[in-house]
């Protein structure tokens, strides 16, 4: 169904990826391609392996089988910092915030790769360091503005509400100017207005040519925003297709309305 697109170089290519934890096969034979400018979503019941897949793609886990390629280049098992240099960034389901720093400083860290001063310049506080700090701060403030957190820029991150921290993570990931962006449940814990803002933000990021890979339990958001969806169930790919195809697929309905339907519905309501 995506035959026309596979000839283009995918921004992210996951090929037969699998991983075992102590004999338990948490992921098995997962493949997909995400192209520049699209929102590719991964859905599935709790424990399906979505976060684990992100952890493999972003270099936190090494897969026991399969390959990951970024812009056509081998990237399996590279360290996260190396992958960041290849243009991959992500957010975390269970927030990973620099809690002792302010909101704007959190995003400033995201500009790390763009910062040009060397160690000795930093040690001696050469004028270039002051200039760099101001440039980094300006870029970070612009990103905070983009995610709607400009007013909270100088608040300690530890004092921000959950929904704001979710968006702070997006701003920090965007600060790296990624080509591939993995978002793990960005709308979790957000109210309807915030979810709508995140919807628009993701849309705008994809418009800018980024391949966005989205994991999200809010089905309304997923169905509306995604160009294609991969359904994972118990670590195995069930279906890949457009939102309409996925919604109509009896296997998906069964997987969701089976044992997990209740909890999914409950989560979507919140």
């Amino acid at each position: 169904m995506t035959a026309t697109r596979t000839s283009n170089a995918a921004a992210l290519e996951v090929d037969g990826v699998g991983i075992s934890f102590g004999g338990i096969r948490a992921l098995d034979g997962v493949s997909f391609r995400a192209h520049p400018g699209e929102v590719f979503s991964i859905i599935g019941p709790n424990g399906a392996g979505k976060t684990t897949l992100f952890n493999i793609v972003s270099g936190l886990y090494r897969p026991t089988s399969g390959r990951v390629r970024i812009a056509g280049q081998e990237a399996t098992g590279l360290a996260p910092a190396r992958l960041a240099r290849r243009g991959l960034s992500r957010t975390f389901q269970n927030l990973q915030i620099f809690f002792r720093m302010t909101a704007v400083e959190n995003v400033m860290v995201g500009r790390h790769m763009a910062e040009k001063t060397g160690f000795f310049a930093d040690l001696l506080a050469l004028p270039s360091v002051g200039r760099q700090n101001r440039a980094t701060r300006a870029a970070a403030l612009a990103l905070l503005d983009r995610v709607g957190l400009a007013d909270l820029a100088d608040q300690p991150a530890g004092a921000l509400p959950y929904g704001a921290l979710k968006r702070l993570e997006i701003a920090r990931a965007l600060a790296t100017e990624p080509k591939v962006l993995l978002l793990d449940e960005p709308a979790a814990g957000c109210n309807a207005v915030e979810t709508e803002e995140i919807d628009q933000l993701i849309h705008a990021v994809a418009e800018g040519g980024v391949a966005v890979v989205l994991v999200e339990h809010d089905m309304k958001l997923v169905m509306k925003i995604s160009s294609r969806i991969l359904v994972l169930v118990q670590g195995k790919p069930l279906v890949v297709g457009t939102p309409a195809e996925v919604r109509a697929d009896p296997r998906v309905i069964e997987a969701y309305l089976g044992s997990h339907g209740e909890t999914e519905a409950a989560r979507a309501d919140r």
Partner: protein, 324 residues
């Protein structure tokens, strides 16, 4: 720590917390000699400044990068024995010897740290512990070079025919060294490097996915901390006129860690407060001398229980808490 600076973006340069800390330390160093009644106090203060220098460096490793070195006194030992051995056995004057010791210390830290920081967990603490014990053993047993357990004398420094002696002279030398060390540490904290170090202390995973090379940065912090320690050791040896293996002992390493912890990790002023307490307290309460180790242990426990973040950040936190 930087909230205050950030709330007034246009005038960042005027009174940033960085400048406040530096001015505070400078004023304290400059004013104390005016109120000290005797040379004894100058001597104790000079010890605080030299220890403080090592602690400010260690704080960059512990407070910023979140790594513990349990053998930090070994780097002090390298600096101290360099100024002892260089002139006595090799005919190298004290100042080039000191510089060589500092360079050697940096090299050793790099060699020890390079493989360690690839690993996660407490490997650095264990590796530095082992290295520290090893160096202390070598210093004690190689008596032909080091004088063994009794230590060895250190030649006086001579600059252009002027013998550098006297409590007040050493007070100023160590005080200025401390101020320079504090200034550089504060610079680093406020720089892109410092920001990345603070970030990986809070979440190494998040720092790494935005491209921060955690292993390289931790190694940098470790080497910097070793340079601070070796400088401190060289100053201490030159000031005292002798060195003993105690300089590099495990207990001394534990003292440094304690100074950072009780003063407050991540706070430069806190590091100095920690050094002042641990150097001055035994001097003030000489009856405690025999029980120093026990008191040290007790202090760690008390502070870990009541002021977990350390004195300076802890008191700031308590103050804020009371106002709520």
């Amino acid at each position: 720590m930087t909230d205050a600076a950030a709330t007034s973006p246009p005038s960042r340069r005027t009174w940033s917390p960085r400048l406040v800390s530096l001015v505070f330390v400078t004023v304290v160093v400059a004013v104390l000699p005016l109120v000290f009644p005797s040379n004894y106090y100058l001597r104790v203060a000079s010890l605080v400044w030299t220890s403080g220098l090592a602690v400010v460096g260690l704080n960059l490793l512990m407070g910023l990068a979140g790594q513990v070195s349990l053998g930090h006194a070994a780097f002090l030992g390298i600096g101290a024995y360099a100024v002892a051995i260089g002139p006595t056995h090799l005919g190298v004057p004290p100042i080039p010897s000191a510089l060589a010791g500092i360079a050697l210390s940096a090299l050793v830290a790099w060699i020890v740290g390079k493989p360690i920081f690839r690993l996660k967990g407490y490997y650095l603490a264990v590796a530095t512990l082992g290295f520290g014990l090893l160096l202390a053993l070598v210093l004690t047993s190689e008596s032909a070079w080091t004088g063994g357990p009794d230590g060895m004398p250190v030649e006086r420094v001579e600059l252009f025919g002027w013998r550098v002696t006297g409590a007040l002279t050493w007070y100023w030398i160590t005080g200025v060294a401390l101020i320079i060390g504090v200034a550089l540490a504060l610079n680093l904290e406020a720089s892109p490097t410092g920001r990345a170090l603070r970030a990986l202390h809070d979440s190494e995973v998040a720092a790494s996915v935005v491209g921060v090379d955690a292993a390289r940065l931790k190694l940098t912090a470790f080497v910097v901390a070793a340079v601070y320690a070796a400088t401190s050791g060289a100053l201490l040896a030159l000031m005292n006129g002798f060195v003993t293996p105690d300089t590099a002992s495990f207990m001394h390493s534990v003292e440094f860690v304690t100074m950072v912890v009780i003063g407050g990790m991540g706070s430069v002023v806190g590091a100095l407060v920690g050094a002042a307490i641990l150097v001055a307290l035994p001097q003030a309460l000489t009856v405690l001398q025999e029980y120093e180790t026990a008191v040290l242990g007790l202090l760690i426990m008390v502070f870990m229980i009541f002021l977990r973040q350390g004195i300076v950040p802890g008191l700031i936190g308590l103050f804020r808490g009371m106002r709520r």
